[in-house]
Symmetry: C2
Subunit: 295 residues, 2 copies
């Protein structure tokens, strides 16, 4: 049985404490759970959100809104970099990020480094809507190891794009928010290279502190460091950020609006070129947090 939740009126409710005094609950059926050497994994099924899964009791994705996240993570840098051939995904064991990349025939290599093999194996069984492409696209190469070590050992100038699709900066994901890791990302990126990373949230204080720290480190490492905002209803507060860091391209000025629509498979649920540009317009309090982080 899942460890996170409660029974009410004979139904199980998955419950996540989003802040010390705030929680979101979803009525659901627990499908499967196990403890791996790295973390606890649970899969659930609900009416409104479809299938969803959690790591250490924290929501990773639901079928209803995962496309907000994966489309904004992938299509933003793909519409900015002039010619992406080689991509590295750090984390992303559910396969949603690889699925979105897989739409671009011009990409030659998609390396995916996931620390926990069981995330991939279980998502193949319980979340084929995200993990289904992992076995269908021969460009995707799975590496089961720590992303920090993989980056440490990777050659210079090897990638055009690095996507850090990580958990929060606690547990297995902690090293993916460090200066040394960002520095290695910079090193393995070629000319015009872009890094996009999961960048937490500006709303609840514990998340906004992580966000500010991450932003400060990216600014110290890359000449261009911005953040962009999107709606992620099942994440705490629903306000979620990605960091966009690059060796040159500007995420708005260099946007090619037809980058996605030129692909054979271009239907989206969330992303449009207008949404892309709009996501970089930040509410005033988020601008202030970033200014504070920059000192």
């Amino acid at each position: 049985m899942s460890e996170t939740g409660r029974y009410e009126d004979g139904h199980f409710w998955y419950t996540e404490r989003q802040a010390p005094d705030v929680s979101l609950s979803i009525r659901c059926t627990h499908l499967y759970g196990e403890r791996t050497p790295f973390q606890r994994i649970d899969f659930y099924e609900s009416d409104t959100f479809g299938r969803f899964f959690t790591l250490d009791g924290l929501m990773m994705l639901t079928e209803k809104d995962e496309r907000h996240y994966h489309e904004m993570l992938v299509h933003v840098p793909m519409a900015v970099h002039p010619d992406v051939r080689r991509v590295l995904i750090v984390g992303g064991g559910d396969g949603g990020t690889a699925r979105e990349l897989s739409r671009y025939p011009g990409i030659e290599v998609i390396d995916m480094v996931e620390i926990d093999r069981r995330v991939v194996e279980l998502c193949r069984v319980h979340l084929p809507s995200t993990a289904g492409r992992l076995d269908e696209d021969p460009r995707i190469r799975l590496h089961y190891m720590d992303g920090v070590r993989f980056l440490r050992e990777a050659d210079d100038d090897r990638y055009d794009l690095v996507l850090v699709d990580s958990t929060d900066p606690v547990g297995p994901g902690e090293g993916l928010f460090s200066r040394r890791f960002y520095s290695d990302c910079h090193r393995v990126l070629g000319r015009d290279g872009i890094l996009v990373n999961q960048h937490e949230s500006p709303f609840y204080p514990s998340y906004s502190r992580s966000m500010q720290r991450s932003h400060q480190r990216l600014r110290d490492t890359f000449p261009i460091a911005r953040v962009y905002l999107f709606h992620m209803p099942v994440y705490p507060s629903g306000m979620w950020l990605f960091g966009f860091a690059s060796k040159g391209p500007d995420p708005v000025r260099d946007l090619r609006p037809d980058a996605l629509s030129a692909q054979p498979d271009f239907e989206t649920r969330y992303y449009t070129p207008s949404v892309h540009a709009a996501a970089f317009a930040l509410p005033r309090f988020v601008e202030r947090q970033l200014q504070e982080a920059a000192g």
Copy 2:
């Protein structure tokens, strides 16, 4: 005692059912509650959200994020209409909308029609951060009556701006989503007149159906009818919309970026001119819902 919530570990948790199988809970203290002839009103205090109040068990506002809502409701049309002198607020008994309008010295009259006198009286006591301006700005005139009837009886061409700051289309707020009401809004607006209304949410199905119905009726009534999106963390899904309908001005093309910054008091938490323009860039699934609504 409040009727909506539960006790856990000796603490009271306000709990709102946002969808049949989704609920948000906030640990809090119940400050006051009463049943008026129109609805049940409750006030609470919490660490993360500060004071908040509910009508019939549904979240109206919290001190932490009410400025997202009130700034986006007020400053968007104020930056588009060339010269607002006379404004009508329908609903808005908490005073937050009037507070934001009060920043503009150029406005001459702010009529506010609230059906439930007790909302205003209790917000004066428990939410001075929103209701405080109601007694300080002599331009604000309070009318305690049904907004539908007030609009029915109002003179033609009387207002430059009508703001419908309503609850959901059930209970006292139901008539504020009807064709006849929108038609009266059109009639009382002068040349270049703008209507902005609370327009529900695109995410959970029950809300998106209300949103589509409201959009269809506005399109049938006004030559310009758009919707814009903002982040409202305590509302269901956090994705919330306002409707923008006008007799001429376009919400993006006619945006004057210095409209707010030219005022003596211009500090915001959420609104910026960039956020204004960006809010009209809608995720693909929201665009599709609006296209469906338009038939």
